[in-house]
Symmetry: C2
Subunit: 370 residues, 2 copies
Amino acid sequence: MITDQITRPTLIIDLEKVNKNLDRMLERANNHRVKLVPHFKTHQSKQVGEIYRSKGIESITVSSVKMAEYFAENGWRDITIAFPVNILEVKALNAMIRKEIKLTVLLNHLESVEMLNNSLDGKIDAFIEIDAGYGRSGVLHSDVFQVQEIALAVKDSGNLNLKGLYSHPGDSYGCNSVEEIQSLWADAKEKVISLKEQVFSRDEDVIIRMGDTPGCSVVEDFRGIDEIGPGNFIFYDLVMNYLDVCDESDIAVALAAPVVFKSKERLEIIIHGGAVHLSKDHLYDAHEHKFFGEIVVFTEEGWSPIIKGAKLKSVSQEHGILTVSQEIFDQIELGDVVGVLPIHSCLTANLMKEYLTLEGQKMEHLEKVF
Amino acid sequence: MITDQITRPTLIIDLEKVNKNLDRMLERANNHRVKLVPHFKTHQSKQVGEIYRSKGIESITVSSVKMAEYFAENGWRDITIAFPVNILEVKALNAMIRKEIKLTVLLNHLESVEMLNNSLDGKIDAFIEIDAGYGRSGVLHSDVFQVQEIALAVKDSGNLNLKGLYSHPGDSYGCNSVEEIQSLWADAKEKVISLKEQVFSRDEDVIIRMGDTPGCSVVEDFRGIDEIGPGNFIFYDLVMNYLDVCDESDIAVALAAPVVFKSKERLEIIIHGGAVHLSKDHLYDAHEHKFFGEIVVFTEEGWSPIIKGAKLKSVSQEHGILTVSQEIFDQIELGDVVGVLPIHSCLTANLMKEYLTLEGQKMEHLEKVF
């Protein structure tokens, strides 16, 4: 069993689940005739990247210039940096352009177009980022004039090529049902399509890309969309499971955490697995109590379904406190290694900075090496 | 100015503040005749460690075996691992013992004593960890029998030497005033002292160590305590400032974050500085709104006091969203670098994995190198 070799907190990855999650998303993309340009911010691993490559993926999305540099060094030639372009990082963009990486950036401001165009040493593609209701970054979908201005400036620039409109409907994370996600997505999609029709003529080669795992996992109507860019789906996590976007058995990473203390008075078990391993992201259970992860037991094949009668109720820097039933309490011993399904797998992977497969192979995360 | 060279999120450290914070805690320890055995979990940096060493510190505290290994490799010979001993890590403990590191561990369970004694290759010191009301790890202060049993087992063991009782009154973080911290601490201290008197005779060489930055920063009565082990005080943070345990000007680290987007409709500014830089730890403002950091402006000497009319209201993986007044909005431009004082400096340092001094020198964090 994989946990036989584990002595301290370790992030276990189930590659069979990773493959299934990717196959399912590829099948959805194929069925709906949209191109999958997966976001790599969740795994941030060259080895996980190779799984995508083996299935024909050549274009990827990242969320920072640093992440673009890492994947460029690992053989990826077509990279979208899905974060508002940071003009302070032009030097790093130029270094990648010189290595013939095909970069795509997100533009939000007219000023950025000119500053970028003047300081780039070569050509890059650009999306205009559209805020279709999420309220984070992006030009407001209703601000047709601003989109027109940016589009014109890009067309007039020497170094920027306008690829189209990009929108991340991240408000889908706040939905309460699949139907709500579908309706939010339909609304966001219509806004972006309508904006495209107002700003561009039919014969212009302008595409729309939309992101987010909840939407891409459950939406059935992608008409008008050319590309999708979800990321979290490769591992999924408890947030996605609570949204009903994945089954708990789809969650592809689990923290292996040694048991170091038992309190029989409080029916609590303390594991070495805290905020520096899992993050402080949390959900609320049916009784409105915060929790920071669900508990599983490792098996010969991987790990069990979620254990009823156990919950990670709090974390401090290194400690995690499980509340458990008397039955579970009696079954778990000091020196055991339990599994924790993460609330938010992107943050857990970013903190753990390394994976161990069920077959005992290490896989890197850029935060460990770059 | 230090931010002139910054293009992406960077954790800035003000060494003058670090020195002042350490001097103040050393002075308190000297005045109250307790030994300061500082916790290194906040900075986790060999260079910051050298500042302590230059002021005479030789004994330190860490919160994991990994952290002990890192500081052992960097010349520290007397290390307390202030986390319930994990019997799975005995091999790593033995490796340090062979290098003649003087290790101290925390014991909570009778079983651990025997398991540890049988598998150790040499001698280590041990505290019995006491839960004086916090409710995390440790034998309950009221469980005199259990403490007696562990103490006897340690005395009978060949490899363990009983150092005394250790208690971390971490519930001080939940207090609402200095008076409340002082009263909570007095209560916890009395419980541990009374336990010591019940279990040990007067002529036994048994000490008491208590931790936590809030208590060690404001308590005036340390009688009965031999050693203190605070950690966060070296940087402090907004949690400590809200507890009135430090002044905001004592906070010694600030995240430098580039401005990448401005929304004039919402008076919001987006920075490259999110959950993977600051953590998701948060506080609540006077209107019960969550926030994830306070904003400062970098200057020639360091950074300004907290800017009124600006707040980091939310974070996602890479994005941070500031809500600002119209006046602040007009002053901050795309491509500026703003400062964010962290809610919880331990987690921010752990995520950033490196420091840049105001003089432009890099300082490492073990998570980057180990």
